[in-house]
């Protein structure tokens, strides 16, 4: 094994390709989520996925078919809670995610176990990505980024000032729904590919990094995407040379980028 041809391994190539696409995807959604104070929605929806998978296993169906609609519904629930009931976003996420975990634990206990460990089913690893998952990651990223691009102006308006956006005739509820549905689908599918740690980190860290230095909204998105993708590249490379787990290394690199951006802002 040579140190410098690490890209000759198929699993490393797949990690870089799928990782980059998922990073870009998470960064784009992350900008809107962080600004709407829904940063933790990734973690929340992961918990909901756990519960939803348990329900799927409980009814003995392909868990994903049950889990996907349930997770989408839960994300709409989070939105509904923040919209109608005057509940803060973080509290809404907390409520829904606690419920998801509780249902999962309950079902695991009541049914006295399953045929496969739920958690391992749930959490992917960036080093263990199949060819199908690479294709899926690219398709998912392309689809979500196209939808975001088409509704870009509406998303910006609603994120900036919901009241004004509504007065300007934008269907803010529909835009909100679209955002959380995209997030739900992304979290669920990306989590299976690269693991929840990476997904929730990439939803938050690159955006916060971009907010330190970017001079405008489009630039924020661009900087977030670059920060996310660069974290993945450097993280994978470093993890290879240092013999560290890749997912955790990527998160650390992402954090280092944030610290750099923060310091730059301070000294500027």
């Amino acid at each position: 094994m040579s140190m410098f041809n690490f890209l000759s391994y198929g699993f490393m190539q797949r990690a870089v390709i799928a990782g980059s696409f998922i990073a870009a995807l998470c960064a784009v959604l992350g900008v809107f989520l962080v600004l709407r104070r829904l940063s933790l929605i990734g973690d929340g929806l992961a918990h909901v996925t756990f519960g939803s998978l348990a329900i799927g296993l409980f009814f003995n169906t392909t868990p994903l078919y049950v889990a996907l609609p349930l997770v989408v519904l839960s994300s709409l629930g989070i939105m509904k809670l923040t919209e109608a009931q005057h509940i803060f976003g973080d509290a809404a996420i907390g409520i829904v995610s606690a419920l998801g975990i509780a249902i999962g634990v309950l079902l695991v206990s009541v049914t006295k176990g399953f045929n496969i460990d739920l958690f391992s089913y749930l959490f992917g690893n960036i080093l263990a990505i199949s060819k199908t998952e690479v294709a899926m990651s690219i398709a998912l990223s392309a689809a979500v980024i196209i939808v975001v691009a088409l509704f870009y102006q509406d998303l910006v308006a609603v994120t900036f000032d919901e009241e004004c956006a509504q007065a300007e005739g934008i269907n803010t509820k529909a835009v909100n729904k679209a955002l959380v549905i995209l997030t739900a689908v992304t979290v669920m599918l990306a989590m299976k590919v690269v693991g929840i740690m990476l997904v929730s980190a990439l939803l938050i860290l690159p955006t916060v990094t971009a907010l330190q230095i970017a001079k405008g909204f489009k630039m924020t998105i661009l900087v977030a995407v670059i920060a996310a993708v660069v974290s993945v590249w450097i993280g994978i490379m470093l993890s290879f040379f240092l013999d560290w787990p890749s997912g955790a290394t990527i998160v650390l690199v992402s954090f280092v980028l944030l610290v750099c951006a923060f310091s730059y802002r301070k000294i500027r």
């Binding site: 399953f114 391992s120 290879f240 890749s246 955790a248």
Partner: protein, 288 residues
């Protein structure tokens, strides 16, 4: 059944008949499946054994429920492997409020920090003996019964060991590539196999590093390994990726930490699992 054990059996029956009619069974709770199966075989109808771990749940990181505490509170013996294997068990037992409870650490850890002692059948013998002794300590009346059943079970383990020795001696390939956590160290050591696991850690919680996987890929290619083994219960992502990368095929190698719901319902035994493992090893390592 040998003549001797038949005699013992008769003796035990005699002894039993002198006890009160409504005989109370010894209540035992075990953490992992191998312990459960050992206890079941030693105790037979004298003992009510409960497996704490729900089927399908990963053993290393299990979190006991309130019901589990209740189960153990009512039991007379609690058996776990070791602090290393079930870190949660030790803490958990402290929370059980019962002074009649006998806690048994059945496993041991000699080399490194590998807690999977049952996968070395000679060490499994010692585990059986510890369980037997615990049963006798709590239920002296059935001492001879437990001695007999334990002996019988140990005979099965010794036979299994011999079968492994015989089979694995004649393998073309001596490299055991395992796409899971480091569980088969003892087994590989005993039968002189080279063992490489995807995760360096002894627990599936740890993540593989890219260099681990690169080394595995290189080794697979270097030794022209045709089969990669994957572990039970946990979805075999890493093994699948290695297979995709190298064109090798997948075979299951169960460390028997725990069973699936279906296996448990079917009444699968530890010996059966190990025999199935041997079949797969024979195929995967190209043994005669």
């Amino acid at each position: 059944m040998s003549k001797k054990s038949a005699f013992l059996f008769f003796l035990i029956l005699l002894l039993n008949s002198t006890l009160p009619a409504a005989e109370k069974k010894l209540t035992v709770v075990t953490t992992l499946f191998p312990l459960y199966d050992f206890a079941r075989n030693i105790g037979q109808d004298k003992v009510a054994v409960t497996l704490l771990l729900p089927p399908g749940i990963e053993a290393h990181s299990y979190e006991p429920s309130a019901g589990d505490v209740l189960k153990v509170s009512g039991a007379e013996i609690f058996i776990y492997t070791s602090k290393l294997m079930e870190p949660w068990a030790e803490k958990f037992v402290r929370g059980v409020d019962s002074n009649k409870l006998l806690v048994v650490e059945a496993g041991e850890y000699f080399t490194a920090k590998d807690p999977h002692t049952w996968l070395d059948f000679s060490k499994a013998l010692a585990m059986v003996n510890r369980i037997r002794d615990a049963f006798i300590a709590k239920d002296v009346a059935n001492k001879f019964f437990y001695l007999a059943t334990a002996k019988q079970y140990n005979k099965m383990l010794t036979d299994l060991d011999a079968e492994y020795q015989k089979t694995l001696v004649g393998c073309q390939n001596k490299v055991l590539i395992h796409g899971g956590h480091f569980a088969f160290g003892y087994l590989a050591q005993r039968y002189r196999l080279r063992y490489i696991a995807a995760y360096k850690g002894f627990s599936p919680e740890a993540e593989p590093t890219p260099r681990n996987l690169a080394e595995l890929v290189d080794t697979i290619k270097q030794y022209k390994v045709k089969y990669i083994f994957y572990e039970e219960l946990i979805s075999p992502r890493v093994a699948e990726v290695l297979a995709q990368e190298t064109g090798a095929q997948l075979l299951k190698l169960s460390a028997a930490h725990n069973l699936t719901r279906k296996e448990l319902d079917r009444g699968v035994s530890f010996i059966e699992i190990m025999k199935a493992n041997l079949e797969n090893l024979k195929k995967g390592l190209l043994c005669q």
